[in-house]
Symmetry: none
Subunit: 218 residues, 4 copies
DNA sequence: AATGAATGAGGGTTCATTCAT
DNA sequence: AATGAATGAACCCTCATTCAT
């Protein structure tokens, strides 16, 4: 191919710039999704990213793709957190549930709230771009839960889908700017929810434990 | 003439129709807020209510007022539920927490999710139209929690604001039609959350217990 | 005919009420046309008249007819003024121009500004309802001008159309509530315009003296 | 590549096109304000300007701003005329009033009628964008009047506000398309009004001479 | 005859997306 | 590759007019 055969030395710069723009856009979108919800005007995202609006479309065919890439980005970082949690749990079996708690609270700070669009109807969680990352995320969270379950610290009637959906909902951005210290509330509620996840179970759950797949329409 | 000669039984309709329209609009909006979020096109609400778009504006000066009336409607019905819960708890002290559980799950079926706009930045929860209902709702939920607390069944480090916000978030409508059996998920997560609310507390909570007032910008 | 053969005595009351409503509507419209321009919402006119909106339509088929009747009403009153001016001029020939001045200023207080819609494109000044009144208005103003002309006090190169259009324009309501003492301004400008009408002419006029007919399209 | 190899002569268009669009919109609006009043549908303005409706909003945040810019544009051109009139008057003192006449008639052809929205209630004549131009306009018209006054040709009981308001009213667009040769009428009436402005005064004026500031609510 | 309610069409404005430089 | 500008479709809301009581 032309690009391959041409001396690679020529210009790594333009690509670097483009890459930087791409990252800035994703970063801006992630922040703004959490602050204002995922229906923020793309022009605003562009402004916050410091690029022209059309540049957003050069990198992302449409809004859906931008959303997908933001989700992908967050998914990766949260999966990192989960894997680190697994390591901790493996190092000290008694700390398995604590590792789960740490993971959950840390995920908030990685803007897991920006993953919420994932739950929307017009979002395809099985899109090729996402498959691997999603798989890794689920595996890692499941791994973390499994450690806690094995340690007898996590109730046995829940699955990874339960945690992910509840996590998404509880950390979801409010429409409009809203509450001042929502962040503080978020951590309180996650803590309460986590307490509910501990073994022994204090009640019988309705419905079925489910993975993300189970959530989809068909 | 018909109307004159016929017994008065015929039809008390003119005002009745308007009232019926108003109710249909509120009902349609309530359902659609839950399904699609509170930013559904009002034209769609009108269509679902089976009226012309302008009729919506005859009854509600603008979108904000419609939202407010829907919230008011739901608030009233949920407060009813809470009061019924109090009665149950008073009848059998040992059932206090169970009454709280029953209330929470029932609230979902009353579309408490349609109260979510209450959390939005552009919503004034202190609007005169709402004050009484809101007061009653908070009093009744607080009363219900107090019964459970007194019975030693509810942890003591949470307040009514914690429950209401978490309840709102966990039952929140997803943007777009989304998950088929989200309802089932909602009840699972509420159950988990409720388990986390039980005494004895299984962890220390960050932040402060708060009422709804504490949530606002001020 | 049925209505004719039926004893006329039955009910003169409902007609009286209806007549009173009709007058209230015209009066309200006249005031509001002057204050807000002739595109006030008819619902507002109805409110100011103290009747339901549909009542406006019972009396006037559509907005155009209401406008026409307002113009008719004002036309009549202004024609009255002009005829009174003629009487004055006839009583004292030297007072002819003064009578014209008096008439012009008095016309303002009779809300001649509400006649402005007459100049609009969608207004037919030859409508049957108006013909007689218009004819009388033009005759009387022309009569007044003729007296002043005959007394050598009015320049000879102007016709009734000049006066009426300029009068309409100078007294025209501003869109929006606007200027506080516009009224005072109106009288100043009319006075200046009248000074310009006096003989001897101080300049040569472009165009042709014209009657209202000359103003229309075809 | 074409753009690179072609001499820079090709086309400085991108920004130029935007500028041209802006000018076309202002021009279209100016004409249409005169023809139909300043409440023409902006979609129509866009159509006449040959652009999409949203383009109007790209250049002017809302209707108010478009109106303001049209007024600004006209104000500038009319001020130019007034300054030219001053030059004429200074060159030949005896021609001072003639210069005023010439100015007034020329102003009509510069669409001074499009300045009428300036009188509306929702228009802020002290908006920063306008301050300088308005100041210049008033200064120049006042200068022109002062020359005529000094030459003993203009009555002394009137101020710049009188001229500007009367000028606005007499040249004001009719709602709807209306009269074919209104233009001719306008010039007749201005001529008459100007005759009324000449010294010596032929009557005593009611009210007070006023500047534009005096017209506003405050 | 009078009314309150209902309605559809239309205008202002925003925003995702496309175009031309 | 990047951008500013352009666009049309969509939404909110108003208003003249019609309907049903």
């Amino acid at each position: 191919m032309d690009t391959a055969t041409a001396p690679q030395r020529r210009a790594p710069r333009p690509r670097a710039d483009a890459q930087r723009n791409r990252e800035r856009i994703v970063a801006a979108a992630r922040e703004m999704f959490v602050e204002y919800g995922s229906d923020v005007p793309l022009d605003e995202v562009a402004r916050r990213a410091g690029v022209g609006n059309a540049t957003v479309y050069r990198h992302f065919a449409d809004r859906a793709e931008l959303v997908r890439q933001v989700v992908l980005h967050v998914t990766d970082r949260v999966a990192d957190l989960a894997e680190r949690g697994i390591a901790t749990a493996d190092a000290d079996e008694g700390a398995a549930f604590t590792a789960l708690r740490t993971f959950v609270h840390a995920a908030v700070d990685e803007r897991i709230g920006a993953m919420c669009p994932m739950l929307a109807a017009d979002f395809d969680p099985f899109h090729p771009d996402l498959l691997d990352a999603r798989e890794r995320l689920e595996q890692s969270i499941e791994g973390l839960m499994e450690r806690a379950r094995a340690a007898g610290q996590l109730r046995t009637d829940i699955a990874v889908g339960d945690l992910m959906v509840a996590l998404s909902q509880l950390t979801r951005p409010l429409p409009g700017t809203a509450c001042v210290n929502m962040d503080s509330f978020i951590h309180r509620h996650l803590q309460l929810f986590l307490d509910g996840l501990m073994a022994p179970a204090r009640s019988e759950l309705p419905g079925e434990a489910a993975t993300l797949e189970d959530l989809r329409q068909d």
